[in-house]
Every structure is written in structure tokens, then in C-alpha cells.
């Protein structure tokens, strides 16, 4: 009895040491396995044999092999990981835009400069055809640069869509695997109640990998299976069941992919704000936070360039002497650029037969010193309900509400956004339209082909000129003058010959309106109506009464005229050496042409580079910080769960010694047994 007990106890020690050695070897071999948590065999003493002499120890047994795993530390790693992946993805993407815009040789800046330089050269030598040809060439290369940048951004947008789709399918694949591991873990753990350590590690690693794609939260069920949630509680995996995520064209903007979740009731589009973290979060925030705004802003710059340049160009006279005053038929071409208008996308959810809504860019408003646009970089949403129509600016959610589109347009007249809206029929309730005023402009800025083939059509000269009669005896000089929008109305009956008589100017055309120094216009009822003469005052024959100050044809008479002196306003026929309009075009470079007259093209571009650069920097810095956080939380987890080979070497020695000791005990038992046998044999 005693010796068999001795051997039995020795064997338990051998077995326990064996398991210990095996666990140690398992740890050593998996030292580099990703997601592996070191394991430890837990030994417990066997229940003692109760005798009259007390409880005699019966050796040891291994109660379980446990993994050193902290749920808390793992979740911390997962959270850091999803944050880091999001920032890393964002950083990778925005670096491309940052490089695209900021490159000193390939950005928009040098082309803008070259374009305006060639406008100046035309202004220097307006009749010089090579200069005009150079202007066309630089306009074309400017438009090419806009289009190239637009193409690149569009390509990035397509790439982002592609990555969203593959990320979503990655998420689905992980979800499937997690569900299947849930199943295996339930099956594996059910009979023994012992933890299936390596399966658990595999599943935790899958959850960690999933968190690289999108941030999730997990809960554990009593049967050991995980539930995985995304967003603010949307189920992705529940036990062994998987909900599939989808990537399909957005109902509000079919040009881009939206992420949805397939549920029993159908596919549900998920708001982007809910999909935080991971590569998916990075892609979505990059798209909404940087890619689309940059495309819109550059589009705005392209549209504003075209609109302001065309508006000023229309006020000129080309080398053939053609202007707005030319009798039909003529080949006067007011526009140097062409650009696509706003895009209006009807929601896919709109009821069938809803009217079409369209938007049009407004010509630059008449004109307070220079032309400018009021376009913003925002997209707009038009929604209808029983009460009327609401237009929301999506960047800051500013809203305009009215009974119908006319009411909205009326409000936009006082708070201009650079476009107007119209509909094919009265709007019906329950519809929604997305308006992108500038997105299309970036890829559609073109040089007017009519001007491209005939540079003589560039309007470098002014269409009207005032001059003093050669027989005037007074000392008065007259400026040749400048035209503003609506000038043909002011110059209906040319030539106009004004006569100075006794301190008054007379012989203005009947029906004309005359404004002195931008004051309230005076109507001329008869040729004998007079306007008081002040030396140096600007005299405006008003063409457009809506503008303040009035515009039309503006000139100045300085000096002392004699009675009977006359001043003639006539068409600038043959004015090939005149560069007044080219100078006005060149000045657009340094004038505030954007955002309701608050920024130049270059300033706007610099702002864009600054904003993008700031964002890229911010993301880079946060990404670095997040990486440090991730490294730290990984390190904390590793220091708890990771394998230390020196430690395992020590364990190896320890279990080896335990094994040797148990074997020795066995040998002692065996020797004792042999001793008994010898006694019996004798």
C-alpha cells in the first residue's frame, strides 16, 4: 500500500511536470505567434488519503491550463488600434492631396501666374498676335491643370470607393470567421468546461484585425461566444449569426458609395458619423472632410475664374473691332472660358414622377470695382415637405425656408450663394435633391474653341472712347473712359456729342440717365437739358440702373472748357492699340474675385493649401500620437500576455527538475519495492 502510494504520487508529479514542460514548449514555440497569450498550467495538490495518522498527500494534478489574458488590456489595444488605423488611412490619403496642391511646380499656382502674365503681355502689346496666341496657350494649360487636378481628385474618390468596398467585404469576412469561431468555441468548451485557449486567442486576434477596419465593441455570452457591435450598437455578430454590411451607391448622391447594414427589414444606410475608427472610418472622414471640400473649393476657383473673366471679357472689343455694339451678324465672342454649371442630383428615394430641379450659376453681380462671385465651397440639400421647401447649406447647416423655389430664390438674392434654382414643375412634398454648385467646374473648365482658333477675338480694347473735338479752344482734357455692364443701353445713339455752354454740359441723348461722381442718376428729357460741369468729376452715362454706383460708360473731363467746346463719345473703331479691357482682365489677378469679394484667386488657393496642409499635419501628429498610444497599450498587454523566452527557459529548468525529482521519488518507490521483494525471496 505504502509503496504503491509512493509510486502513484511520483507518477502524478511526473505527469504534472510533463504538462508543465509541454505548456512551456507550447509557449516557446508560439513566442512569435501574433495574438498568442502565454499559457500556464495550474497545479493543485490531490486530496490526501485520510488515515488514522492523518491525511497523507497523494501527489498533484493539473487543474487547468490557463492563458494569461486581460480582457481590459486587449480592449484597450483594440481601441487604440482602430484609432491608429483610422488616422493612418486618413494620413495616407490626405498626403496625396497635400503633395498634389503644394508642389511648387505642379500645383495650380504657377499656371495661374503664367496665365495672368500672358494677359499682361497682351495688355502691353494689344495688337501683337503672338502675344494673343500665348494668352490662348497659357489659358489652355491653366484649364488643363485644373482638369488634371480634377481628374486626380476624381480618381482618388474612385479609389476611396474601391477601398470602402473592399474594407466592407473584409469586415464581412472577419464577421463570418468570428461567428464560426464562436461556434467552435461553444462546441469545444461545452464538454469539459475548460477554456479553449488557442481558439480564444485566434478569435481575439480576429477581433483585433476587425478593429483595424472599423471600431467595434464586444460582449461575451455565457456560452463563451462574442457579440460584436459597430457604430452605436448595430449588431454585426450575435453568437453564431452574422449581419452583412454592404457598400452601395448613396441614395442622396449615387456617385459615391455609402455603407449599409443588411437587416431582416432590408438594407439600412448607416450615417457616416456612426462609422468611426478603423480604415473605414479613416476613408469616410477623409472623403467628407478633405476630398470633397477640396474638390468643391477648386471647382469654385475654376468656376469663378471663368465667370469673372468672361464677364470682363464681354465688356471689351476684339482686334476685329467687334463688341456688344456690333450689328448682327458678327463673330463677337464674349466668353474666353466655358465651364459646366451646378449638378443637381435627385434622391433615389424621391417618389416616381417628381419634378426635375436644376441650378444655374449667376453671372458675376454688377460690379463694384471688379467682378466677383458669391459661390461657396459647400454642397446644398433641397428638401420638400407639406409646409414648403428648405434649402440647407451642408457645411454649416444654414437654412433657407420658403413656400416654393421662387421664395428661396428671392432669399438667395439678398444672401447670394452664386446660383439660382428652378424646377420643371411645382415641387412635391417628400423629395430631396443634392445640389453641387461647383464640383463639376473643376473638370470642365475649357477655353472657348472659337477664341482658341482665332486669338484676334480676345477683347483687349474698350468698345467706346470719349474725345475732345480738335477745334476746342478751352483747356479741357477728356479721359477715354471705361465701360461697365449694360453699357450698350447707355450708348444706344452713337456718336454722342456733348457741348459745353456757360458752365453746363448739354446735348446728352434724350432718355439717357446721367450720374455725376456716382450720384443718383438724372434723366435727360430733352437735348437742351443740362448737367452742371465740375472739372475732374466722373460722368456716367448709366447703362444699368440697378448697380450702385451706377455703371455704363464712365469718363472724366478735366480742365476749363470754352463755351462751344464739344466732346464726342464714339465707338472705338480701329482701336487696335487700345488695351483698356486687357488691363481690366489683368487686374482680376490682384482683385478680390471670390467669396463675395473677399479673396483673390491666389489667396483662395493658398488658403486651400493651408487648410489641407494643416489637416495633413494635424492628422500626422495625431497619427503619431495614436501610434505611440497603440505601442504603449500593446506593450502593456505584451508585458502581461507575451512570452518571455528567458522565463520559459527558467520554467523549462524548473519543470525538468520537477520531472527529475518525481522520477527520483519513483525510483525510491521502486527501490523500496525491490527491497520488499528481496526480503520475500529470501
Amino acid at each position: 500500500m505504502a509503496t504503491s502510494g509512493l509510486i502513484g504520487t511520483g507518477i502524478t508529479g511526473l505527469l504534472a511536470a510533463q504538462i508543465g514542460l509541454q505548456t512551456t514548449e507550447h509557449n516557446i514555440t508560439n513566442a512569435n505567434t501574433v495574438g498568442f497569450s502565454r499559457q500556464r498550467s495550474s497545479q493543485a495538490s490531490n486530496l490526501g488519503l485520510s488515515t488514522g495518522a492523518g491525511f497523507i498527500g497523494m501527489g498533484t494534478h493539473v487543474s487547468t491550463v490557463e492563458r494569461l489574458y486581460s480582457r481590459f488590456l486587449t480592449e484597450q489595444v483594440n481601441r487604440s488600434q482602430s484609432g491608429a488605423s483610422q488616422l493612418d488611412t486618413y494620413h495616407q490619403q490626405i498626403s496625396q492631396i497635400d503633395n498634389l496642391l503644394g508642389d511648387p511646380s505642379s500645383g495650380l499656382s504657377p499656371e495661374l501666374q503664367r496665365f495672368f502674365t500672358s494677359v499682361q503681355q497682351v495688355a502691353d502689346n494689344p495688337a501683337d498676335l503672338p502675344s494673343r496666341q500665348a494668352l490662348i496657350a497659357s489659358a489652355q494649360s491653366l484649364s488643363t491643370r485644373y482638369i488634371a487636378i480634377g481628374d486626380q481628385l476624381a480618381q482618388m474618390s474612385r479609389a476611396v470607393d474601391g477601398e470602402i468596398a473592399s474594407t466592407v467585404s473584409g469586415i464581412n469576412a472577419y464577421a463570418e470567421q468570428i461567428a464560426s469561431l464562436n461556434q467552435r468555441i461553444i462546441v469545444a468548451q461545452a464538454p469539459s468546461g475548460q477554456p479553449a485557449n488557442d481558439l480564444l486567442d485566434t478569435r481575439d486576434q480576429l477581433v483585433a484585425d476587425l478593429n483595424k477596419l472599423v471600431q467595434t465593441r464586444t460582449t461575451t455570452n455565457t456560452d463563451g461566444s462574442y457579440n460584436v457591435f459597430i457604430g452605436n450598437g448595430q449588431q454585426l455578430v450575435v453568437g453564431v449569426q452574422v449581419m452583412t454590411m454592404t457598400a452601395q451607391p448613396s441614395s442622396s448622391d449615387p456617385s459615391r458609395l455609402a455603407v449599409g447594414l443588411k437587416t431582416i427589414t432590408g438594407t439600412q444606410e448607416m450615417p457616416e458619423s456612426l462609422l468611426d475608427g478603423g480604415a473605414l472610418g479613416g476613408l469616410l472622414t477623409f472623403r467628407s472632410g478633405s476630398l470633397l471640400p477640396v474638390s468643391n473649393d477648386l471647382g469654385r476657383s475654376a468656376a469663378s475664374l471663368a465667370l469673372t473673366f468672361n464677364a470682363q471679357s464681354a465688356l471689351g472689343q476684339d482686334l476685329l473691332g467687334q463688341s456688344q455694339l456690333s450689328a448682327a451678324p458678327n463673330t463677337f465672342t464674349p466668353n474666353l472660358f466655358s465651364v459646366a454649371g451646378p449638378q443637381v442630383i435627385a434622391s433615389l428615394k424621391n417618389p416616381a414622377g417628381s419634378p426635375d430641379v436644376s441650378a444655374a450659376l449667376i453671372d458675376p453681380p454688377p460690379y463694384n470695382g471688379n467682378f466677383y462671385t458669391d459661390l461657396t465651397g459647400s454642397d446644398y440639400q433641397l428638401t420638400t415637405n407639406a409646409g414648403g421647401v428648405t434649402l440647407s447649406r451642408l457645411t454649416d447647416n444654414k437654412q433657407w425656408t420658403g413656400a416654393d423655389l421662387a421664395a428661396i430664390n428671392a432669399q438667395l438674392a439678398s444672401e447670394p450663394q452664386g446660383f439660382t434654382l428652378s424646377a420643371s414643375a411645382a415641387l412635391v412634398a417628400g423629395t430631396s435633391y443634392l445640389i453641387q454648385p461647383t464640383r463639376n467646374a473643376l473638370q470642365t473648365l475649357q477655353v472657348n474653341p472659337a477664341v482658341a482658333v482665332d486669338p484676334r477675338l480676345i477683347t483687349a480694347a474698350g468698345p467706346l472712347a470719349a474725345s475732345a473735338n480738335a477745334s476746342n479752344l478751352g483747356s479741357a482734357k477728356v479721359s477715354t473712359g471705361n465701360v461697365g455692364p449694360g453699357y450698350p443701353a447707355a450708348a444706344a445713339a452713337l456718336p454722342i456729342t456733348l457741348t459745353f455752354q456757360n458752365g453746363q454740359l448739354r446735348n446728352f441723348p434724350v432718355g439717357a440717365q446721367v450720374s455725376i461722381d456716382g450720384g443718383t442718376p438724372v434723366s435727360i428729357a430733352a437735348l437742351t437739358d443740362t448737367v452742371a460741369y465740375t472739372s475732374g468729376a466722373t460722368i456716367t452715362l448709366v447703362g444699368s440702373a440697378t448697380a450702385t454706383p451706377p455703371v455704363g460708360f464712365t469718363f472724366t473731363i478735366t480742365g476749363t472748357p470754352n463755351t462751344g467746346d464739344t466732346f464726342v463719345i464714339a465707338r472705338n473703331t480701329g482701336g487696335t492699340a487700345d488695351s483698356r479691357n486687357a488691363l481690366a482682365l489683368a487686374r482680376l489677378q490682384t482683385q478680390d474675385t471670390l467669396s463675395g469679394q473677399s479673396a483673390t484667386f491666389q489667396e483662395e488657393y493658398a488658403r486651400l493649401v493651408n487648410v489641407t496642409g494643416n489637416k495633413a499635419r494635424e492628422v500626422a501628429v495625431s497619427s503619431e500620437a495614436q501610434q505611440a498610444l497603440l505601442a504603449q497599450s500593446q506593450s502593456t498587454r505584451d508585458s502581461f500576455s507575451g512570452v518571455n523566452l528567458d522565463e520559459e527557459a527558467a520554467n523549462l529548468i524548473r519543470y525538468q527538475q520537477a520531472y527529475q525529482a518525481s522520477a527520483k521519488a519513483l525510483q525510491v518507490g521502486s527501490t523500496l519495492f525491490d527491497t520488499i521483494l528481496q526480503v520475500v525471496a529470501r
Binding site: T117, A123, A465, T480, A577, S579, Q602, R617, S639
Partner: protein, 449 residues
């Protein structure tokens, strides 16, 4: 703290990686000389650099424009100099022609010389820029500005101006445009005749007769410009609206040489001509006396007293019936001044009275020529002041350019000393990380069992 083996490798590798990426970045900075490799490195400076670059380029464009303007103005200046030389030649010939001892044939010779000079002036006035634009045609760059009108039987052909008054502007600074041309109308056409305010002339004694006395009128003087303008414009009740002029008519009541001032203005055609009306009393005259242009009464209307603020001097002795007129200056082109002189020189001097008139006419022609020369001088001064302004702008622009360059360099360029010292620092720490990594990874208990 417990350390897992993978941590040792991870941390080591991470540090080596970080040092390496820093080194690569520094190397890129050093090799490009740029502090900012992308705008993200310093977004504010990047945006500033963009706007500054535009300002610098714009400023460079203004400098190019200034050069263009300078070239054109210099060409103009040269042509004006040539014009002055030719007109000076004409003037010295005129002075020569003023001598009444010259024979008709001599004067004809001078006339043909002046004809050649006139062609020279027309040629200079029609000069072109290297690009082919006419220099003095205003906006009408492709229109030859000075051409002879078709000759008619009644008059020799006159030179007319086909250009306009347009200023060819060039942007020479952000808020400054500069005209690079002179309009031919101002330069050569619109030149006031006479003394600039009025022109005097002997107008003859009766139909078809020249003045019979020896009186020669000078060009007159405006003593009070304000009074002159006032009288001309509103102070004096002219009897007609066209051909406004005063006439000094000599009489000899009781054998005393006297003069009286008449208003000879006429109503606008087609109204019938009206006779001159006396506007002053008959006043006794002494040779060489200054005659103030003052009217004292205009019968039959109420007596009006107007002071024109001007006077003329008549030397010599006019005889009864001799008349002199004083007209407000009209514009007379330099071409018609020369042409009129040529016509004058071609006319034979048949009598002493004709000679007297001839002297007066040569005197007037000289006066008009001097006006033309003064006008060209003024224009040349204007061109000179524009060139001066361009030089000042050029100085400003180069100072500004230097400033931009400096600021841009501060924004964009790498501080090499700093960068190289950083490079060395990171190099040392990379070497240390690598060495320590190798050593720490060499430590293993397994080596001893």
C-alpha cells in the same frame, strides 16, 4: 515590469525605424535645400509662400511692363528730338526769310527747302514702333495718323489727323498705369496759334487791299488771364456766335491818327452777315503805343464796359482805313503753319505795303512755330517725367523684389547648420539603437542551458 521577448524586438525595431525615417527626412531636406517638403510641414508658411510668390511674380511682371513702357517712351523721346531738330531748322530758315532784302527767287528756294522739311515732319509724325504700330496715332495703332487730304483747286492740300486721343496704358505698378504714347492730336495738331490766348493779324484796308500804312501789330499780351477768359466767355456781349473777333480800325479825324475797336463777330450761317459794330470810342493813337483791349460802349445797345485784360502794340504808322484783328486763338497744326509759310514764301513781294504785311505774317509764322516747338518741348518733358517715374518705380521694384526674396527664403529655405547638426544627432542615436539592439537580442538564457 515584466517584459516579453517580442517587446524587446518591437521596441528596438521601432526606435531604429523612427531614427531611420528622421534621417531620411533630414537627408531629403538637405539634398533639396527646402525646409518644407510638403505644405503639411508648415501649413502657414506654405500658404504665405504661395501668396508671396504671386506677389513676387506680379512685381516681376510690373518690372517687365516698365521695361516695355520704357522702350516705347525712349523711342518716342528720340522721335521728338528729331522733330525738334527739323523744326529748329525750319525756324532758322524762317528767320532768314524774314529779311525783306531777299529776292523772290531766294524765297522760293527757301520754300522748296521747307517743303522737304514738311515731308520730313510728316515722316517723323508717322513713325512706327518695332511691332508696326504707329507711334502717334492713339488707339488707332494700324492707321497712319498724318496724311494729306486731297488737294482742291481753292487750297493746297492740308495734313489731317486720322488717329484719336487714346492713351496706350501699361500697368507699371499695382495701382498705377502709365501712358506709353503721345496722341498726335495733342503733339502736332492742337497747337494754339498767336500768343496762346489770341492771334493778331493785319486785315487790310478795304476790299482786296492790304494795309496802306507801315503799322505792324505785335502778338499782344494778356495782362490778366482771368479777365480775358471772363470777357471772352460771358463778360462781353458778342453780337454773333461765330468768328468772334475784335477789330482795330484806324481813322484820321481832323488829321489826328486815331483808332476805334469794333466787334466783327457774325451770326452762325446761314444767317446773313451783319456789319461790324463799334464798341469803343475813337481814341487818338501814337506810334508804338499799347492799345488796351477795352470796350466802353456798344451803341445802340446800352453802353457796356468790358476789360479784356489784354493789350496789343502797333508799331509804325497805320493810315486811315487800316485794320487789325484780334481773334481768340484757334488750333493750328504744325503742318499748316509750315504749309502756310511755304505759300507765303512762294508769293512775290510786289510793293512796300505787301512787304509790311509779309513781315507781319512771317512774325506770326515764327510765333506759331515757336508754339509748336514749345508744345513738343512740353511733350518731351512729359515723356521725360514718365521715364523718371519708371526709374523710380524700377528702384522700388528691385528693393521690393529683394524683400520678397528674403522673406521667401526665410519661409522656405533650410537652415543648413541646424539640419546638419540634427542629421549628426540622429545618426548617432541610430547607431546607438542598432548596437544596443544587437547586444540585447544576444542575451538569452538558452545560451547557458
Amino acid at each position: 515590469m515584466r517584459i516579453s521577448s517580442s517587446q524587446i524586438y518591437d521596441v528596438g525595431l521601432r526606435n531604429i525605424g523612427r531614427n531611420q525615417s528622421q534621417l531620411v527626412r533630414l537627408q531629403e531636406q538637405i539634398s533639396t535645400g527646402r525646409r518644407m517638403l510638403t505644405p503639411a510641414d508648415d501649413p502657414v508658411a506654405a500658404a504665405q509662400a504661395l501668396t508671396l510668390t504671386q506677389s513676387k511674380e506680379v512685381s516681376a511682371q510690373y518690372v517687365a511692363n516698365q521695361q516695355d513702357a520704357r522702350d516705347k517712351l525712349r523711342l518716342t523721346d528720340t522721335q521728338l528730338g528729331s522733330l525738334t531738330d527739323v523744326l529748329q531748322g525750319v525756324r532758322s530758315r524762317l528767320v532768314q526769310a524774314g529779311s525783306t532784302i531777299l529776292a523772290d527767287s531766294d524765297r522760293k528756294m527757301i520754300a522748296s527747302e521747307l517743303s522737304a522739311n514738311l515731308d520730313q515732319v510728316i515722316g517723323l509724325a508717322n513713325s512706327q514702333t518695332p511691332a508696326g504700330d504707329y507711334l502717334f496715332s492713339g488707339y488707332q495703332g494700324h492707321v497712319m495718323p498724318f496724311v494729306r487730304s486731297a488737294a482742291s483747286a481753292s487750297a493746297t492740300s492740308q495734313v489731317v489727323y486720322l488717329g484719336d486721343d487714346g492713351n496706350r496704358l501699361v500697368q507699371v505698378a499695382s495701382s498705377q498705369t502709365l501712358a506709353t504714347n503721345l496722341a498726335g492730336s495733342d503733339l502736332l495738331m492742337n497747337i494754339r496759334e498767336g500768343n496762346g490766348s489770341f492771334a493778331t493779324a493785319a486785315t487790310g484796308n478795304g476790299a482786296g487791299m492790304v494795309n496802306q500804312g507801315t503799322g505792324i501789330i505785335d502778338s499782344g499780351t494778356v495782362l490778366d488771364a482771368e479777365k480775358w477768359q471772363q470777357a471772352l466767355e460771358s463778360g462781353f456781349p458778342w453780337q454773333g456766335t461765330t468768328n468772334r473777333a475784335l477789330e482795330i480800325r484806324f481813322t484820321a479825324p481832323s488829321g489826328i491818327s486815331s483808332y476805334q475797336i469794333f466787334d466783327v463777330s457774325q451770326p452762325a450761317p446761314p444767317a446773313a452777315a451783319i456789319p461790324a459794330v463799334a464798341v469803343s470810342a475813337v481814341t487818338p493813337f501814337a506810334a508804338g503805343q499799347a492799345i488796351p483791349l477795352q470796350t466802353t460802349g456798344q451803341p445802340p445797345a446800352a453802353a457796356v464796359s468790358t476789360d479784356f485784360g489784354a493789350q496789343v502794340v502797333i508799331n509804325g504808322l497805320p493810315v486811315n482805313g487800316d485794320t487789325f484783328t484780334i481773334r481768340p486763338s484757334a488750333n493750328k497744326s504744325v503742318f499748316s503753319t509750315i504749309q502756310d509759310t511755304i505759300d507765303l514764301l512762294n508769293t512775290p513781294l510786289t510793293s512796300s505795303t505787301v512787304r509790311t504785311e509779309y513781315s507781319g505774317a512771317i512774325h506770326n509764322a515764327l510765333l506759331n512755330l515757336d508754339n509748336a516747338l514749345a508744345n513738343i518741348g512740353r511733350s518731351q518733358a512729359s515723356v521725360g517725367s514718365r521715364l523718371q517715374a519708371l526709374d523710380n518705380l524700377g528702384d522700388n521694384a528691385s528693393a521690393l523684389d529683394l524683400q520678397y526674396q528674403q522673406t521667401l527664403s526665410d519661409l522656405q529655405d533650410l537652415d543648413y547648420a541646424q539640419a546638419i547638426s540634427d542629421f549628426t544627432k540622429h545618426q548617432i542615436s541610430l547607431e546607438a539603437a542598432q548596437k544596443s539592439y544587437v547586444q540585447i537580442s544576444d542575451l538569452s538564457l538558452f545560451k547557458y542551458i
